[in-house]
C-alpha cells in the first residue's frame, strides 16, 4: 500500500498516530499503572483441580497472616446475594428450546469446574502479602473425574459438568435448509468430505487483565479501572445482573489497554469481585493477573471439531454444503460464548460462493476447561477454515486448480442473499483474487517449485478466499437471533468556542489507533487540521454511551455514529451561518471548512460559526439554542462484509518436517480506507495471529486430569519476530453501501483468512508425497509424521 502522503487531514492519508508519543516515552497509562491512595491488593485463590466438590474452606490461618485485610469465599458473595455472570446471547436449539444456562458464580459455590476457577479472594496491604496468605487458605476438595474434550463430553457416561445441563449439552443448534441440502447431495457428481479440528487458542494480549476498584462512601459511588474493550457493556452487565447497583453510581474507565483481541470484551469474575470488595473493605482494591492466571482465566478461543461435506457437479460447481460441528464452550457460558459457534459461525459458511443449499448443525458442550469465547475473528475463522480447507481439497479431488475452482463458484451479483441468513451488500471477489495472484507472483511459482525441488525441498501454494461479517450489528436482527443487548454505537462532537473539537466515542481503542483515524474523519468533514481534533474513549463518565470494540466494528459503527453527529453539527452550523451571512438557510453550503452562500463569495469559516454559537451576541436566539455540541447514536442497517484473497507459499523440508513460509500475500477489500498505514498494521497483526494458529499455537489440556499443559510461554508457542515472514499486503476497494463512510472494518481479516491458506499450501507442497490432510498447528513433528504416513492423532 504505502499510499503517497495526502494533505494532513485527508481521508486516505497515512497520518502518523496521535497516540504514539505517550506510548513511545513510557507515558501510557494502563490499569496497572494507576495507583490510588490507600490502595490494597487482591489475590485470587484458584482451583488446582479441573472438577471437584469444595467440602470445606478454613480461612482462619490466612486471615491471621501479615497484612491481610479480608478473605472472601463463595459463602460471602452468596450472603450478599451476588448474581452470576450473565451470558449476553440466548441461543435456541433445533427444537426452539432455550439453551441450558447453568449458573456462573464469580466465586465458586460448592464446586469448581476448571483449573483456575475462582475459589476465594484475599485482600492485603501488599500483593506479596496477599499471595503469601493464599498459601495458608485451607480448601478441602473432593476431586471428581473431569472431561476436557467436547467430543468426549457429549458421549454417554461422561463426567457431568453441570447438573442443569444433561449430557453436558448447552444446545444443539442448526441453520439452513436440511431437505434442500440433502436433495443437492442426491444429485451430486462428486462429494468431498473432511474431518477437521480448529485448534484451541489462548488470546494472550501482552497486557494481562487488571482491575482497580474504588468505592467512595461520600456519594456511594464506585470507580472501576479495568483492562476492557467495552466499558459501558461491562458496567451494564455488572450493575444490572451481578451486583444490583444503580448504574449511575458506577463509573467504568478502560484507560490505555494493552491489546484485547476479544479477550477483554467480557465481564469477568475478578472485575466484579474487586468492585464489590472495595466497598466491603472501604479501600481501593487492585488486582492484576500474572501470566499464569491469564492462561487459566482469560476466555480461550476456537476449539471446534467438524465433519463437512461438499457436493459438486461435474464441473466443480458447488451444489450443497453439509457441516456438523462440535464446539467446546468450556466450563461456563462466557459473555458471548454462545453466539460464537452459532451466529458468528454458521452464517459465514457460504463464504464467497454461490452454494445454493447449506445446512449446519452445531453441538455445543460444557467441559472442565476455561470458558471459550470470542477471539480475533470469533466464529468466522472457524467457518473460513472449514470452507477453505474443503474447497482446496475438492480442487485436488476434482483435478482442478485451487484458484480455478474458486473462480467457478464466486458470487458476482450483489446484493446476494446467502442460504445461511446473510445478505452481502457488495464485493468483488474476482478482482481480489486476480490482484493477489499478481502480488504472489503465482505465474512464477512453477519455476520456484522446480528450483526448490533441486534442493530437496517441497514448495506449495495455498489459497484462502475468505469473507467475514463485521460491523456488529443491526440491533433488531441481533435481538431476533437472541442477543440480549443493542449493538449500536454512540458518538458526541463537542465543538469548542474557538473551533477545536473533542470527540467522545463509545468505541474503544486498545491498539487500533482510533485517536488518529476518528480525528481524521472529523477533521476532513469539518475542514480543520487533525491537530484540532482530540478523541476521547473508554470512560463511562465522559461519553454518552457505547457498545465498544469487537467484531471489527469501530469505524463501521462507531465512525458512522460520529458522522451522524457531524451531520447535526453541519445542520446547526448552516442555521448559524445563514443568520451571520443574512441569507436563507437553504442557500448555505458547507465545504472545506467554510459556510458559503451558494453562488457568492460570502462565507464564514467553521471557527467563526463555532465562536458565534458560544458568544451569541449576533445570533438567532429566538429560534436556536447557543452552543455547538451534538450527540448521535447509530444502529447499522446490515453487517459489513470485508473479503479478500490470501495466498501462502511455503517450503517444507521433508527430512525434518520444518515448514517455512517464504511468501504471504493478502489482498483485502475493507471498503474505503481512512488511514492506510493503520489498516496495513491491522492486517499484519491479524496475519501474525492466524499464522500463529496455523504454525505454532495450541492449547492442550491433560485428558485425564484436566490440567492445562500449555500454561506458560515455555509451553504455548507465541509467534516471535523470527517466526514470521514479511507480508505483502494490498487492498481492493468496493465501498460498503449502507454506512456513511463506505467502510467495512479491517481488524480481524488477517486472523480469519490466513490459517487455511497456510495449511492448504503445506498440503499442496506435500501432496506428491501422498499427504492429504494436516491439522494445525503445523509443528515439524506433525508434518514429519504425515510425510511418514503416520499422522498425529488430534484429540
Amino acid at each position: 500500500m504505502n499510499a503517497p502522503e495526502k494533505a494532513q487531514s485527508a481521508i486516505g492519508a497515512s497520518v502518523r498516530r496521535k497516540e504514539d508519543y505517550r506510548f513511545l516515552t513510557g507515558g501510557g497509562k494502563y490499569t496497572d499503572d494507576v495507583t490510588l491512595p490507600g490502595q490494597s491488593y487482591a489475590y485470587f485463590v484458584r482451583s488446582p483441580h479441573a472438577h471437584a466438590k469444595i467440602l470445606k474452606i478454613n480461612k482462619s490461618a490466612a486471615l491471621k497472616a501479615p497484612g491481610v485485610i479480608a478473605v472472601y469465599t463463595g459463602d460471602d458473595t452468596a450472603a450478599d446475594k451476588m448474581g452470576g455472570l450473565p451470558c449476553g446471547w440466548l441461543i435456541k436449539d433445533v427444537k426452539g428450546e432455550p439453551m441450558k444456562e447453568p449458573p456462573h458464580p464469580p466465586l465458586a459455590q460448592g464446586k469448581v469446574r476448571h483449573v483456575g476457577d475462582q475459589v476465594a479472594v484475599i485482600i492485603a496491604e501488599t500483593y506479596n502479602q496477599a499471595k503469601d496468605a493464599a498459601e495458608l487458605l485451607e480448601v478441602d476438595y473432593d476431586v471428581l473425574p473431569a472431561v476436557v474434550d467436547a467430543v468426549e463430553a457429549l458421549k454417554p457416561g461422561a463426567p457431568q459438568v453441570h447438573d442443569g445441563a444433561p449430557n453436558n449439552r448447552c444446545y444443539l443448534w442448526s441453520l439452513g435448509d436440511k431437505a434442500a441440502t440433502d436433495a443437492a447431495f442426491a444429485k451430486a457428481h462428486h462429494v468431498t468430505k473432511i474431518d477437521i479440528t480448529n485448534n484451541r487458542l489462548i488470546p494472550n494480549a501482552i497486557e494481562p487483565r487488571a482491575a482497580l476498584a474504588h468505592y467512595n462512601r461520600a456519594d456511594e459511588s464506585y470507580t472501576l479501572y479495568v483492562a476492557n474493550q467495552n466499558p459501558h457493556v461491562e458496567r451494564l452487565l455488572m450493575t444490572a445482573f451481578v451486583l444490583g447497583l444503580p448504574e449511575h453510581k458506577v463509573r467504568v474507565i478502560a484507560p490505555d489497554v494493552g491489546g484485547g483481541f476479544g479477550s477483554k470484551i467480557f465481564l469477568y469474575a475478578e472485575d466484579v469481585i474487586v468492585t464489590w470488595a472495595s466497598k466491603k473493605v472501604n479501600r481501593p482494591v487492585k488486582w492484576t493477573a500474572d501470566r499464569s492466571e491469564a492462561f487459566l482465566s482469560d476466555a480461550h478461543g476456537r476449539d471446534h471439531h467438524t465433519h463437512a461435506e461438499l457436493a459438486m457437479d461435474k464441473d466443480g460447481k458447488f451444489l450443497g454444503l453439509r457441516v456438523k460441528t462440535i464446539a467446546n464452550l468450556g466450563a461456563y457460558l462466557s459473555t458471548f460464548g454462545s453466539s460464537v459457534p452459532t451466529y458468528l459461525y454458521g452464517t459465514l459458511l457460504a463464504g464467497q460462493y454461490t452454494t445454493p443449499a447449506i445446512y449446519v448443525e452445531v453441538d455445543a458442550a460444557f467441559t472442565n476447561t476455561t470458558p471459550v469465547d470470542a477471539y480475533r475473528g470469533a466464529g468466522r475463522p472457524e467457518a473460513t477454515y472449514v470452507l477453505e480447507r474443503i474447497v482446496s481439497q475438492a480442487a485436488r479431488e476434482m483435478n482442478l486448480d485451487q484458484a480455478e475452482i474458486r473462480r467457478r463458484n464466486f458470487i458476482t451479483a450483489f446484493p446476494y442473499q446467502t442460504p445461511v441468513a446473510l445478505m452481502y451488500d457488495i464485493g468483488d471477489y474476482k478482482s481480489c483474487l486476480d490482484k493477489a495472484q499478481k502480488l504472489a507472483d503465482v505465474a512464477g511459482f512453477p519455476a520456484r517449485r522446480a528450483e526448490a525441488e533441486k534442493r530437496g525441498k517441497k514448495r506449495g501454494l495455498g489459497y484462502s478466499t475468505y469473507i467475514e461479517a463485521c460491523g456488529l450489528a443491526p440491533s433488531n436482527i441481533a435481538g431476533a437471533l437472541g442477543a440480549r443487548a443493542g449493538l449500536f454505537e454512540a458518538g458526541e462532537i463537542r465543538v469548542h468556542p474557538t473551533g477545536s473539537v473533542t470527540v467522545f466515542t463509545g468505541s474503544h481503542s486498545h491498539g487500533q489507533g482510533h485517536e488518529t483515524t476518528f480525528a481524521q474523519v472529523v477533521a476532513a468533514r469539518l475542514g480543520i487540521p487533525v491537530e484540532s481534533v482530540d478523541v476521547v474513549h473508554g470512560d463511562t463518565g465522559r461519553m454518552p454511551f457505547g457498545m465498544g470494540t469487537y467484531g471489527s466494528r469501530s469505524i463501521a459503527v462507531g465512525g458512522a455514529a460520529i458522522m451522524k453527529a457531524l451531520d447535526k453539527i453541519e445542520a446547526k452550523g448552516k442555521k448559524i451561518a445563514a443568520h451571520l451571512l443574512e441569507a436563507a438557510e437553504s442557500d448555505i453550503e458547507f465545504k472545506d471548512g467554510k459556510f458559503t452562500v451558494a453562488g457568492t463569495d460570502k462565507s464564514v469559516p467553521f471557527g467563526g460559526v463555532a465562536f458565534s454559537a458560544y458568544v451569541p451576541h449576533n445570533y438567532p436566539l429566538d429560534k436556536l439554542e447557543p452552543g455547538l455540541n451534538e450527540t448521535a447514536f447509530y444502529d447499522p442497517g446490515n453487517f459489513t462484509y470485508p473479503a479478500g484473497t490470501h495466498i501462502a507459499e511455503v517450503e517444507v523440508d521433508p527430512e525434518t518436517g520444518v515448514v517455512q513460509i517464504v511468501n504471504f500475500s493478502a489482498v483485502d477489500d475493507f471498503g474505503n480506507i481512512i488511514n492506510p498505514m493503520i489498516v496495513e498494521g491491522q492486517v499484519h497483526g491479524g496475519l501474525a495471529q492466524g499464522i500463529g494458529q496455523a504454525m505454532l499455537e495450541n492449547c492442550v489440556y491433560d485428558q485425564e486430569t484436566g490440567q492445562l499443559l500449555t500454561g506458560s510461554y515455555m509451553d504455548y508457542a507465541m509467534p516471535r519476530a523470527a517466526d514470521l515472514p514479511s507480508f505483502k499486503v494490498d487492498t481492493h476497494v468496493t465501498p460498503c453501501t449502507h454506512n456513511p463512510l463506505g467502510v467495512k472494518g479491517c481488524g480481524e481479516a488477517g486472523a480469519i483468512g490466513s490459517p487455511p491458506a497456510v495449511v492448504n499450501a503445506v498440503i499442496d507442497a506435500l501432496a506428491p508425497l501422498g499427504v492429504k490432510h494436516l491439522e494445525m498447528p503445523l509443528t515439524p513433528e506433525r508434518v514429519w509424521r504425515a510425510i511418514q504416513g503416520k499422522p498425529t492423532k488430534v484429540a
Binding site: 501510557g28 491489546g259 491498539g511 498494521g681 497483526g685 496475519l687 519476530a721
Partner: protein
C-alpha cells in the same frame, strides 16, 4: 521482611530505595520510582515487556532482583528521549507504525537500543533474531523490523549513539 538500601543511577540520575531482598527490579521501578514505562507481561522473562538496560546489557527486569542493580546504571524507556526530542528509534517506531497498543513498546525500544549498539548495521534476519526475546501480539513485527532498520540508518548517519 528487613529491607535493603539500594542506590543506582536511573536514566542518568541517582536514586535510592528501600526494598525487600526478594523484590524484583521491575516492581521497584514501577511502584517506588513511578517509572511505569517498563511493563509486566509474564514475570518469567519470556515476553520482554519489562526489558531495561542494566550496565550496558538488555535484561528482563521481572527476573532481576532489585538488589542486583546496586551501584549500577539502569536505562528505561523514560530515558530514551532528550528534552522531549524523541530518540531516532522512537521516531522511527512512530513513522513506520511499529506499535499498536503500546504495551510491549517500552521493552521493544530499550531492547532495540541495545541491539543497535551490538549490531549497528543489521540485516532483516539479524533484527528478527535480535528482537526475538520480545513478544508483540499486535503488529506482526513487520513494522518493528522496518523501524529498527530505519533507525539503524539514521544512527549510522549520525555516527552512532
Amino acid at each position: 521482611m528487613a529491607k535493603t538500601h539500594i542506590s543506582f543511577n536511573l536514566n542518568g540520575r541517582p536514586v535510592d530505595v528501600l526494598a525487600e531482598p526478594r523484590e524484583l527490579l521491575i516492581h521497584v521501578l514501577r511502584e517506588q520510582l513511578a517509572h511505569t514505562g517498563p511493563h509486566i507481561g509474564c514475570e518469567t522473562s519470556h515476553c520482554g515487556a519489562c526489558t531495561v538496560d542494566l550496565n550496558g546489557r538488555s535484561v528482563k527486569s521481572c527476573t532481576v532482583l532489585a538488589v542486583q542493580a546496586q551501584g549500577g546504571n539502569v536505562l528505561t524507556v523514560e530515558g530514551l528521549a532528550t528534552n522531549g526530542t524523541l530518540h531516532p528509534l522512537q521516531e522511527e517506531f512512530m513513522q513506520q507504525h511499529g506499535l499498536q497498543c503500546g504495551f510491549c513498546t517500552p521493552g521493544m525500544l530499550v531492547r532495540a537500543y541495545r541491539f543497535l549498539q551490538e549490531n549497528p548495521n543489521p540485516s532483516e534476519e539479524e533484527i528478527r533474531t535480535g528482537m526475538s526475546g520480545n513478544i508483540c501480539r499486535c503488529t506482526g513485527y513487520q513494522n518493528i523490523v522496518k523501524a529498527v532498520q530505519h533507525a539503524a540508518k539514521r544512527l549510522q548517519a549520525a555516527g552512532g549513539k
